[in-house]
Amino acid sequence: MSKEVDTDDRIFKRDLLSSLPNLRAFAVSLTGRHDKADDLVQDTIMKAWANQKSFTAGTNMRAWLFTILRNEFYSQMRKRGREVQDTDGLFSERFSVHPEQYGRLDLQDFRKALDKLPDDQREAIVLVGAAGFAYEEAAEICGCAVGTIKSRVSRARTRLQELLGVSGESDYGPDAGDAAITARAFGS
């Protein structure tokens, strides 16, 4: 019996560990900053560890962890009230601290745009579009209907397109430029 428990224990820890990069990226998406995200991940690890027994082995560990982190995020936000709303000034200041992490200008722009989304839309598009969850899983994590997630994702996409001024072809600026250079270099 104890052998079986040990194995579950090991699997739990291993899965927790392998979920961390994804979980942390979700935390960064929610909070908008690395330091706060890492505090949130730390709280989530502690909670998950303390509640190991309530996790059903063989079920979706990642969804379970994301649910804990999300609940933790919103309960902390309720407790503290929304802290300083981000302004462009604050944002550039915070990201100049880690230029190597956001070296790419378009990523910084994207971050700014993502930060301007309402919380419910941001989490929906991140869960479905980046964290690798199906609509059904995202709905479970957010505690809402699948249809709600779908409409949030769709509104988030529209809003991001507006914010980033994406209108299709023209967006492939750098790639189109590269293509032109390539064409010049190799063209006859």
């Binding site: 961390l20 990069p21 998406s29 994207f110 980046a130 690798g132 991001l160 994406v166 967006d171 492939y172």
Partner: protein
């Protein structure tokens, strides 16, 4: 567990799990062009992957080691 953590330290950059779900929605797109949705999806994944590829900060590996150790200590006390 300790072995797992060591392994994670070494391989943390490989742990950024890629998923193939919801890959850019690019049906009916001519080569060389991108639908606005595909472009948003790509940027979102680029951003997210950039964070994932940072790997696992040491503070979390240290935390897990401490939790693991505390659990072992508790177990050995129980056993006595």
């Amino acid at each position: 567990m300790l072995d797992d953590i060591e392994q994670a330290r070494v391989m943390s950059e490989d742990l950024g799990t890629k998923n193939d779900m919801n890959i850019a929605q690019t049906p009916e797109v001519k080569p060389g062009t991108a639908s606005p949705n595909a472009s948003i999806s790509r940027k979102l994944r680029d951003f997210y992957d950039a964070v994932q590829e940072e790997g696992i900060p040491d503070r979390f590996l240290d935390l897990l080691e401490r939790l693991d150790q505390a659990e072992k200590n508790a177990k050995s006390v129980e056993a006595k």
